[in-house]
Symmetry: C2
Subunit: 336 residues, 2 copies
DNA sequence: CTGTTAGCGCATTCAG
DNA sequence: CTGAATGCGCTAACAG
């Protein structure tokens, strides 16, 4: 059995209050008593029981993180930021993965609430409004991180999607491209960031007197990429596109694969760029020119926002913090 | 303020013991009392405080997971298994990332111990013997998951590395390859699994009267791949290798990239295969033939082993559980 | 079946 | 500066 504050008190021949005081440095203790206490702590290898402490202080120093899927590269990158900054604030992370099940997420919220987490971070690709409503009800502060959906009613950290696609489109134009297609994801579009992304693209095209052309994909996987390519293969062969700007790296990569299977070379025959800046985009050949989202920073800023409000005991501001993106210029885009 | 057991008792007009009994279903309660309690719980939206409960039951239902880096794909895949199975046992996960700092890992162990975790899972690429020693001392059961190092003194889950490389080598031979090189990682080799991997490869070669040839890489990154290729480029051009078996997927992919840069086609000019079965191996073109390590299962089995021993309150068996691997046949290997 | 009591390990009044 | 006493929210004897 691990030793308790009582054991230390007995050994140091003081009361448990005194021991508590030297541990927390909460009130003056005579040098002599302190010495004895410290010595006893050392000898007994005493470590305060955080559970007992939490019960009385009502501070668990734990935040809950509910993610869609830890195995997802995006999620785990954001999680890095959350974990590292959380730790700087002396908070531990209770982690759970919902695999997209909304009901499961609700259960986790309850569980975490029972474990007295001081706040929750949601990292997901889906939107769970009921969960947010519930968290509001039980008054647990939370920050939402969602790559796809636009969140308005909660504290969240994101990038300026419109600005991001604008910049990339402008970059392509600066490289001499005029026939640029944007491959968008058609899914729940009215509530997702895709709307903003398309706006940024359109705006850049318009301002350069270029014609915007949106190509819709039904998903991000290989199959979706195949469909897209089949739809536009003739246009590509007829050189009616010099560049394709994809809404996600993974889709861009699948597109490149499909193109390559059909003997179309990137970037010689057509330029491709992505969005995300995932690890993949760097390793793939040709390496992918892409918009780098600051995943780590998003997590870091979110947790900082959360914990600052927790520590200050004042309500979380329900706004969106926007972080800057970076255009990573690599080899999938050719200068014309 | 959230409601407590007292509030429920008062509202249901029973004692707190009765409330506790219906919550835990620990002792018979009259239907009438139960009804009233349940009603009160419903109305007050009462949720038991797990911290208080932990304090008295001495069960936190939390396990600590110390990882090298959550951002690492291997780690996050294993973590999936740990999380999902842990949850089946009704355990939550306290997560921390050490980024390879041994001292930091020691601190986490202390922290977790103070938070009364019931066990710890170590997922790492490095070896921290002091940490294991410490966990033994403070008597926290733990399971080690380490892709690289061979662990003998602790409970661990792994694959049979020798058998795995044997099988892949045999597969290559079955495909008609005779001049097969094995690209190994030269680093701490006497304590890592590389030794076993090489053994498996050698054995398969020997049994087929083929000459084994080990090529050493100094790392897994692009630079290391470049060095390897430079070392053996002439041998490759002279067709003195028909296949290269790489000790890790990522290295195989970098190798493929380097080869492609030099105009050598995979698998037409040379076959390549990897080890790991990471997401990358599937997406890359040509898709990589590889040994698939069951990352998810490794995590799942590890946590099951840990929790079974915890629940049974009997000491963890300090052995290695071996899980089967699978040869994934894709397009980077050509039949000769 | 039920209520009273003690106590988990600790922080924090309140006297001294 | 220090100790005794109280209670955080809950479970688990114990007595009825």
């Amino acid at each position: 059995m691990a030793s308790t504050i009582k054991d230390v008190a007995k050994m140091a021949d003081v009361s448990i209050s005194t021991v508590s005081r030297v541990i927390n440095d909460s009130k003056p203790v005579s040098p002599e008593a302190r010495r004895r206490v410290l010595h006893a702590i050392e000898v007994l290898d005493y470590k305060p029981n955080e559970v007992a402490r939490s019960l009385v202080t009502k501070k668990s120093n734990i935040i809950g993180v509910i993610v869609n899927d830890i195995g997802n590269g995006y999620v785990s990158q954001v999680l890095r930021g959350v974990e590292e900054i959380g730790r700087m604030f002396n908070y531990d992370i209770l982690l759970s993965s919902s695999y997209g099940d909304l009901e499961v997420e609700m259960k986790f919220a309850n569980l975490f609430s029972q474990k007295q987490v001081e706040g929750i971070i949601l990292i997901s690709d889906i939107l769970n409004e009921r969960l947010m409503y519930k968290l509001d009800q039980i008054k647990i502060p939370y920050v939402v991180i969602n790559r796809f959906y636009t969140i308005d009613q909660a504290a969240t950290v994101s990038i300026n999607n419109k600005n991001a696609t604008y910049k990339m489109t402008q970059y392509l134009i600066d490289e001499g491209h005029e026939k640029i297609g944007y491959v968008a994801l058609r899914k729940d579009m009215d509530r997702t960031n895709e709307t903003y992304k398309i706006k940024g693209y359109r705006e850049a095209m318009q301002q350069n007197d270029l014609k915007a052309k949106i190509i819709y994909a039904e998903g991000l996987d290989q199959e979706a990429a195949e469909d897209v390519i089949e739809d536009i293969i003739e246009d590509i062969e007829d050189k009616r596109y010099t560049a394709l700007f994809c809404t996600q790296d993974i889709l861009a990569i699948h597109l490149m694969n499909e193109l390559s299977d059909r003997g179309i070379r990137v970037p010689d025959d057509i330029s491709i760029c992505g969005f995300g800046g995932t690890e993949l985009s760097e390793i793939i050949r040709p390496s992918l020119t892409t918009v780098k989202e600051p995943f780590y920073d998003i997590g870091a800023v979110a947790v900082r926002k959360l914990l600052k409000s927790v520590e200050a005991k004042q309500e979380l501001k329900r706004d969106t913090v926007f972080l800057p993106v970076e255009i990573i210029k690599r080899n999938s885009v050719k200068t014309i």
